[in-house]
Symmetry: C2
Subunit: 249 residues, 2 copies
């Protein structure tokens, strides 16, 4: 196993950090790594906002549902899908590009570009001995986050990445069976086998929680998913995204 | 510089591969690395279809605009956003989760999950001495790709990842200035400075193309972007995505 694969497989989300800030050099290395990722048609359709200000971190932590590690960490990055830059390019070249920018296709491109960059940033940080955690919770109130970061039109916050020196390691949660994620030639057509794999995974997860909680937590993956998904969340998102000039047509 | 950062910064898209197939062990290592990525609320909202069949590769290459390396490579992975699994979980638990699955929020989650996994796969492959190239071109006809891969409802193909032994190395294209991608505390508010950085980048790109083409290619980044974006592409995407039961509400 080479050091890259080792870093990748050793990943776990870190939710307790030491009170030690990243240096600007570390931050720049992480951003440079983010930028080295592939980008669709050279669009580089994302921006990263770095937050040091403790008041702002506190505000973001509140929005994310009072997750303490959004406030207390070594550095906080906010990854945004960004098609504003391309609108400005249109202005500079005096060409109307708005139909493209408002398409679902380009919305997808911006999400993909931002996320490729983010995962490079995450792995770069982890390779430096730092811990990371992605925070989707900032989407609890994307409007408020956008105001806080003064995001222009056609830019939306996607998620935060907290980075820092791990104060407490956490475990790794078992993933879906490889053959459930990975299909050969076509998507699994045998519904019986598909469900069988999910049942096997439920067993694994059930065991995992029991062992960690000394038998107290009874849960399965499908149970956990359904409990979460039965209460629709962030249903304002469509309106927000379209108000920001994305995913309209 | 550690080996992870070195691999990340050394990335370039490879478009010519030797005629040598990946072993199943290599494929499984790559998928295992994909699965190790962070996932939103444990959803693991993606699937990967691996293609060995040469006829299918040929068909996908045609769809992607006759890109030869979609046909000739060591292995072809198709990354899909997948909320079908969660619908099946709903069936198994007899709970209706369709409102969640049809939300823009969960569409975003699925795109983000799939892309985090993909970038892990890409880096794992690169760390093994393999080359990679992302192929957004399969979105030229997502309907046809879905039929070819027999994707169920609530699963859409996002992009392909060609992997293989590099037959020809390629160069690295200069990225946007770090300070244009990375903002401190708030998004750049000074439009003059914002455009100045784009103009400086245009200079860099213009030089880059001139040097590579012995002065023949005159191009800038904003010029290139605008030329591409002025002709809206894949405008069928919204209808396709919604027909597949995603991004509806």
């Amino acid at each position: 196993m080479n050091p890259v694969i080792e870093t990748i497989l050793n990943h776990r989300s870190i939710r307790h950090f030491e009170d030690k800030q990243l240096t600007d050099e570390q931050i720049h290395t992480i951003v440079k790594c983010a930028q080295a990722a592939s980008t669709s048609s050279y669009m580089q359709a994302y921006s990263i906002i770095g937050i040091k200000d403790i008041e702002k971190k506190k505000k973001l932590a509140e929005i994310a549902g009072n997750q303490a590690y959004v406030e207390h960490n070594g550095h906080l990055f906010i990854f945004c899908a960004d098609l504003h830059r391309h609108e400005v390019a249109g202005e500079m070249e005096q060409v109307d590009v708005s139909t493209s920018l408002e398409s679902t296709e380009k919305f997808m491109v911006a999400l993909i570009d931002a996320t490729l960059a983010a995962q490079n940033a995450a792995l770069a940080a982890e390779s430096m001995g730092l811990g990371i955690c992605y925070i989707g919770g900032i989407r609890n109130n994307s409007e408020q986050v956008s105001e806080l970061l003064k995001l222009p039109n056609r830019v939306i916050p996607l998620f935060a990445l907290t980075v820092g020196y791990p104060a407490k390691m956490s475990g790794q949660k078992p993933r879906l069976p490889l053959t459930h994620i990975y299909h050969e030639e076509v998507y699994e057509q045998d519904q019986g086998h598909y469900k069988q794999l999910l049942n096997e995974y439920n067993e694994t997860i059930s065991q995992y929680y029991k062992e960690r909680t000394k038998g107290e937590r009874e849960d399965t993956w499908t149970g956990q998913m359904v409990n979460m998904l039965k209460v629709p969340k962030r249903m304002y998102m469509k309106e927000f995204v379209q108000k920001k000039g994305l995913d309209i047509k």
